[in-house]
Amino acid sequence: MIKISPAELKTIAQYIQDISGIYLDQSKSYLFETRLSSIAEELGCSSYQELYNKAKKDPGKIIERQIIDAISTNETLFFRDNGPFELLKHKILPEIIDLRTPSSPRLKTNIKIWSAASSTGQELYSVAMTIRDLLGTQIDKFNFKLLGTDISDGAVKQASYGKYNKFEIERGLPRQTLQKHFTLFGGSWKVKDQLRGMVNFRKLNLMLPFTGLGKFDIILCRNVAIYFTLADRKKLFNKLADSLADDGFLIIGSTESLTGICPRFIPKRHLRAIFYQKKN
């Protein structure tokens, strides 16, 4: 493994923050080495400075994408931390459905949900499964639009494909749910079309403006802002407030806090979970 020098740490840490918003602690040099060494070696670089120079000069930004894929944490699982899904099932979805039920049965209203750091897709598919299980055949009364975005091309690709190996599947998915929503495909499990048809995934850097996304009824932005600096966290949640409908709901990670970060949101409690809504 190529060793990283203190000067390189500074350059690379700043570079990563610039391209992704991810703030890495410079005292953890092993983190840089374990994640970037193989990219440097593959490109024939003998130092991280050389990797940096190559990445900056790469017109197709392929190296930049590889670095983002390597540095971003894709730790996720189906129904990760059950709280938000119970919250969706018992509180948020019923309320949004009440609010958005059209006056005439011939009209269909959109319900837009956004998983702002969707990683390999497990969170958004879990939301889709929660909706299907809750609504049953009533689902056709609405036009559910579920969007997942992530900064990592690799993660977006896997999420779009909707195929998971046995280790990814075994974490968090009860057998009954698995058989209802997935089909065995080779040695892996593939999301069934009815579920796949509800969701869309695309690449998005949360540090850049959210153009063309419109307003959402529900936003999930869990365990991503923890990798950002305080200043970037403030900017992010302010933009999320702009992207949320006035009566919409925001869910953040269970150990995250918006106190001192975004005064536009107020926390509300439902049973053991918390969600946020915009201040009037």
């Binding site: 709280g83 040695g187 106190t259």
Partner: protein, 190 residues
């Protein structure tokens, strides 16, 4: 002592005994079955980490059926098939059904022990990952409870501050009223 329990399913008594001796010498726990029926029985009643089964056996339960039964019972179980050279294609098919590996007859024990060691290492890694994840879950849920309580308290306090600010900056109230109303906000908060 190796920590894996291995079930050997083979109709040939010579191979069964040979595998038993060699595996025991390597300190593995070994269970033996002379056909698929017995194999499935042992699978149902014992905790088994690895199944080492002959692919072709007389009777209605062959190696593939043992594989399917084992996987149905416990998705994490590892199944290694023992095949004659002529049935390599079937063995490859079996890999698609979840077999971890196949060995050709005559059994090369060095190869077999290498594979078992790999399985053992992999299991150890998975186990520590699972332990770490559990430790993280406990830490996370404890932290979440504290943070969420604080979040609600901070939200309530912020509301109080906002109300008091509204009162104090009002142009229509006398200062005495402002003070008494502000005190009311603090003392009578729900």
């Amino acid at each position: 002592m190796n920590n894996l329990t291995i079930l050997v399913v083979d109709d040939d008594p010579v191979i069964r005994r040979l595998l038993e001796q060699r595996l025991i010498r390597e300190q593995y726990e070994v269970l033996l079955a002379e056909d698929g029926h017995k194999g499935n029985d042992l699978l149902s009643t014992n905790h088994i980490d690895v199944v080492l089964t002959d692919l072709m056996m007389p009777g209605e339960i062959g190696g593939i059926e043992v594989l399917e039964f084992a996987k149905e019972l416990e998705r994490n179980i590892e199944v290694i098939l023992i095949t004659a050279h002529s049935s390599v294609d079937t063995a490859v098919e079996a890999m698609k059904k979840g077999a971890s590996d196949y060995l050709q007859k005559p059994i090369n024990f060095t190869e077999l022990f290498l594979r078992l060691e790999k399985i053992s290492t992999m299991r150890g890694l998975l186990r520590s990952a699972e332990d770490l994840r559990q430790a993280m879950d406990v830490t996370e849920s404890t932290a979440a409870e504290t943070i969420q309580n604080l979040e609600i308290i901070a939200g309530t306090l912020q509301d109080q501050v906002d109300s008091i600010e509204n009162i104090l900056t009002s142009d229509t109230m006398m200062i005495e009223d402002k003070i008494s109303k502000s005190l009311n906000v603090i003392l009578n908060w729900k």
